[in-house]
Symmetry: C2
Subunit: 213 residues, 2 copies
Amino acid sequence: MTTPSSGHRSTARRRARARKPRNDAATAATRVDILKSAAKAFRRLGYHGATVQQIAAALRMKKGNLYYYFKSKEDLLFACHQYSLDRLTQLLADVEAEPVSPETKLRRLIHGAVHLILDELHGTALFLDLEALSATHLRAIIAQRDLFDKGVRALLDEGTRRGDFTEGNAKFRSFVILGAVNWIPRWFNPGGTSTSDEIAQQFADYLLDGLRR
Amino acid sequence: MTTPSSGHRSTARRRARARKPRNDAATAATRVDILKSAAKAFRRLGYHGATVQQIAAALRMKKGNLYYYFKSKEDLLFACHQYSLDRLTQLLADVEAEPVSPETKLRRLIHGAVHLILDELHGTALFLDLEALSATHLRAIIAQRDLFDKGVRALLDEGTRRGDFTEGNAKFRSFVILGAVNWIPRWFNPGGTSTSDEIAQQFADYLLDGLRR
C-alpha cells in the first residue's frame, strides 16, 4: 500500500512540507541513514512487523520528519532495494569502462561487489522481501536487476569469445557468481577474523579459476 | 515468544491432546504439509505478519488441529529450518558414504542440493529469518548448519590432500558453493525453461572446474 491513509500522517506530512528545504548533500545523507535503519528493522521484525515509528525512533527522528524523505513504508522498502542496485549498477559501469581484459573486469567486479556488500550495504536490501513491493516498484527492481545480470553475462561472453574463458552457459555462471557474493551476509561474522579483502580475493580466485582455459 | 498465552489456544490444545493419535507416517506427512504452508506464509507476510490461523486455513485445517503438530509459531519456524537442514545433512551423509573420489562426491552433493532446493525445499526455510528464533533454537540451527559446512570443507580438503584439487581456502570455497546453490530460489522461475537437472549440471561443472588441477 502506498496511499496515505492516516490523518495523523497527513498532518505530519503537511508539517514536513512546510519546513525549509535542506541542501541536497545533507538530504541524501539523511535518506541513506533512514534506509539503513529501515533495512535493519525490516530484517529484524519483517516488513509487515516493522513500523515507520520504530524506524524513525531508532534515528531519534520524529515520524513526521521521516515522511519528509519517504512517503510510505513501501516507498522505504523500494528505496532500500533501489539503493543497493544503484550501487551495484554504478560498480558495473565503472568496471565496464576500464581498458582491461574481461578476466580483470570480472575480478574487479567481484572484488567491488564483496566490498560493497560487506563494507557498505551490509544491512541493506539483499535479503529483504520483494513480495511486499507494489507491482510498479517490483517491475522497476526486476528490470534493474536484469540489466545488472545481463552486464555480468556480457563480461563472461566477451571472455569466452576472446578465448580467455572456457565455453559455458553465461547465464548459469553469472548466477553462481552473484549467488556466492549475495549470500555472504548470511555467514559473515563482523566480529570474526575474515576481512572483506581476504574474502574478495578468495572468491575471485575460485570463481575465475573455474572459467580460465 | 514460545510461551502460550491465549486462552483460546490453550483450549484448542487441550482438545487436540484428547484426540486419538494418528499413525507415524500420516503424522510426518501432515507435519511436512504444515511446514510448507508455514514457510509460504512466512515468506509472503513475514514471520511477524503471518498468523497460525492463516497457515492452518491454507490447509483447510482448524488452528487447534495445527497445534496438535506444532506448539507455537516459533516452533513452526524452527521446524522449517530444521526440516531443510535435516534433508541436506542426510544428503551429505549419503554422499560421504559412497566409495568414490572427493570430486565425484562433491559433484553428487551439488547435484543433490540443487534438486533438494528446487524440487523439494522450494518454499521452505532458506530465506526465512533466523532472527525470530528463540536463543535455544537458534543455537541448534547454527550448530547443525556448522556441521554441514564442516562436511563440505572436509570433502574439499580431502580432494586437495589427494592432489585432485588445487590448494585453496576450503572455508571460503565451501561458502562460494553453498551461496551459489542457496541463492537459486531467488532467480529460479518455475515456469521458465531451465530444469533442475540442467542447473545442477552447469553449477557442478563451473564449481568443479575452479578446483581441478
